[in-house]
Each structure stands twice: as C-alpha cells, then as structure tokens.
Symmetry: C2
Subunit: 138 residues, 2 copies
C-alpha cells in the first residue's frame, strides 16, 4: 500500500451551507447530483457528502461530533495564517484559536467549518512548501 491519500470526504448535515462555505474560500468543485461535491485540492480530492450516507458507506457508527481527525493547511508565513483564519471566519467558520506562535517553533491557529470539522492553519518553517504547495518532511 503506497503512502497516498487520494480523497478526503467530509460529512455535512446541510449541503448548501457546506458547499457555500468552501466556495467562499475559493474551493470550488463540481457536483454531479447536488448531493456530493468533488473539489480538486492539489493532487487529491476533497469531497463533501451527506454525513449519514458517508457513515453507512464507511461501515461505521456516527458518534455525532468530532472523531479524531484534523486537517491542516500549511501556508508560507504567519501573516498568511492570520489572513486565512479571517477568510474562514468571514465565510461562516468559527475561529477555535487565533494565530499565535507555537511551542514547535511555528505559528498556527484553528478554524472550524460549519459542520464542526477543524482545520489547523499553520506556518511551519521546518516544513517548506514548494511552488505546488507540496510539503516535504526534512
């Protein structure tokens, strides 16, 4: 099994709200059926799908809240962390913690999307991003 994650699906409870939120961030996708949205996110796909259907398809029970997965969006400067958090808040997200220096020598904050999915927005000087946005571990 090669180390690759080709698609990440986030379950939503309100299709229009979820789609509008990511569109407002500039994450536009296509929806073949007004139920699922596929967004090209670099070399992978971010999908938005009905949470109950995702649970059934994933053969799991839904605990109803957060379940131990957090996504991160690394950027190139502390100022960009603050800008992305402001953008997410303006789009209808909630800032869980504002941008601040971290104990690991970077700068990060968290926003939470309208369905409760948290995103860490981070600048990590030890994880350089190339032009395409790819991260390579040192």
């Amino acid at each position: 099994m090669q180390p690759r994650i080709t698609c990440i699906t986030l379950g939503y409870r309100d299709f229009d709200r979820a789609r509008r939120f990511y569109e407002a961030l500039g994450w536009s996708g296509r929806s073949p059926d007004d139920e699922v949205v596929f967004i090209q996110a670099g070399p992978q796909v971010l999908a938005l799908w009905d949470r109950a259907k995702l649970a059934a398809d994933s053969t799991v029970s839904d605990a109803g809240g957060w379940g131990g997965v957090t996504l991160a969006h690394n950027v190139r400067s502390p100022a960009e962390v603050d800008a992305v958090l402001a953008e997410a808040e303006a789009a209808g997200g909630t800032v869980g913690r504002p941008g601040a220096p971290t104990e690991w020598g970077g700068y990060s904050g968290v926003f939470i999307d309208p369905d409760g999915h948290p995103w860490e927005v981070a600048h990590n000087p030890g994880w350089p991003l190339d032009e395409s946005g790819a991260v390579t571990l040192p």
Copy 2:
C-alpha cells in the same frame, strides 16, 4: 485560501499499536518524541498523534467515535483493492466491507484502522492516477 491539505492528523489511543499498523502497510515515518509520527504521503503528511491532545489542540470536544471524516486510497485496479484490503487486515485492521463493484461504476471496499478510522480503498476508472499517485478530476 488555496485548495490544499498539507497534513492529516489521525488521533490514536495507543501509540505503539497505531505506529505498528501503518508501518506494516509500508507507511513508515519518523517520530521526534515517541508521541507523534510524521509520515510522508505523497505531497502531504499523515500524522499520528495522541487523540486527547489532538482534540485539545483542535479546540474541539471528542465525541469518542467516528466524526464524519473518511479517507480514501485510490488504486489502479479492482485486484489492487482486494490486495490492499488483505494487507490491511493482515496488519491488524478490520475489513468493514470487502471489495465489490459500486453503483458509480468502480470497485471499492473499506478497512478500519485499529483506532476506528475508516479508509475506503477504491478503483475509480473515472479518476485516473498519474505515476506519482495524484488524482485529477475529469
């Protein structure tokens, strides 16, 4: 906010078990402190971290089970779906559903890692993978 997910962190309850499971799949990483593991997964990082610390860092309450996020690992053939599911089961995962044709014209199955995180393993003829494993939406 550019469409990019640079890191996905999965919360674990047992460090050694989580690390061994992903290592058995060939997903080796480095751990600076025997608490977090960073695995290079294509152009991004898969991190394994203590679930309670991840919840606190993500400013969320932990519902304790699945929380509306499913990862997918797309492969190049139905046979490869079956092979990956067998590999995951041998490593200590649980097959939630075996490989089978899907209504969207592909072939997929699900395994669940030792901490309850589901992975869909899929062959989607409409989502070709390039040599690096990147998916491009049609």
